[in-house]
Amino acid sequence: MAEHKKLPEGGVIEKGGTAHGYSTGGWRKLRPVVDLGKCTNCMICWVMCPDSAVIVQDGKMVGFDLEHCKGCGICAVECPDKVKAIKMNEEAD
């Protein structure tokens, strides 16, 4: 019952980006795996990712945020044909 006194009135969420604390990784059937040796850091996977789950550090693609990646596979398809550094593996494997 004390809960209602704590929640900000009107249903406002007073902080941005709290969804980062919500895991959608469990939705995944396929897991993206990157071969960083092949990756040219073109950033196409990063820009096309619906889940903001491609991790970029200092201008380089370094891997995936598996807490949020839903395994859609767009990164693997969009990785340029000459590069093809990403493949999708069965999550169970």
Partner: protein, 311 residues
Amino acid sequence: MATIKELAKKDELLSGGHRLCAGCGIPPIVRIILRSANGPVVASSATGCLEVGTTIYPYTAWRIPWIHSAFENSAATISGVETAYRALKKRGRIPADKDIKFVAFGGDGGTYDIGLQSLSGALERRHNFLYVCYDNGAYMNTGIQRSSATPLFSNTTTSQAGEVIQGKQEWRKDLTRIVVAHNVPFAAQCSPHNWADLSKKAEKALAVKGPTFLNVMSPCPLGWYTKSEDSIKLAKLSVDTCYWPLYEVENGVMKVTYKPKEKKPLAEWLKPQGRFKHLFKPENANLLSAFQARVDSEWQRLIDLDGKQVY
């Protein structure tokens, strides 16, 4: 215009952890547009996939101030926010040198249909904002019902392909033309597969004073009955088949911003989509060719206007 590496250096303004479907076309659109703003952005969204998917309490994917109030009024709501900005700035309650950009988002149902009036009003009043329609061609959030943006012959739950009727019987409303008729300084059609074109148009739209508009093709694995990994590929096919031409109208001048070297047959875009499955039955070959003919004539009309003053 920013390079992809420059864009990647900017803050991520839409966090992961939202509940949009795997392979949804909307988040890349939102992410690219927000990163193209060059300054603080405040956004509104109409009720719909984007709103529901990104803001399930107490979680929000938005790292910018954001408001949703109802379905038909994303433009009216942002009108109020933008007007408050002008009012409070005039009264010295917001620093004079602070420049905030305003973006209203809506799906095709919330824009072409129920939100058309409020969009038209906000455009006519010349509010300083960008309206972004993510057009996935149906009411996807409520379960794939036909909207006025739904493509011809598309099978939706309210325009079903059955024994006697083969999906939606009407050509889609051409919303971009309707917006252009409001004499807005900038309006464009975009697609997320061409991130550079989308980013450039968003940057332009947000730099201009006055109401601007982007109509963005937004693939939907759920409603298109497609594989989640194919979303961006299908967005590209919608453009390469000239179903969804990329163009802009800047100060009344039409410019087709992408002309495929070789126009692909419409069937290449339709075939992978379950919503058009019935068009590939032998007895429906005439429908398919009618659809192709209409796409061809629409494309030709656009090409004829290329480079011309259209208002």
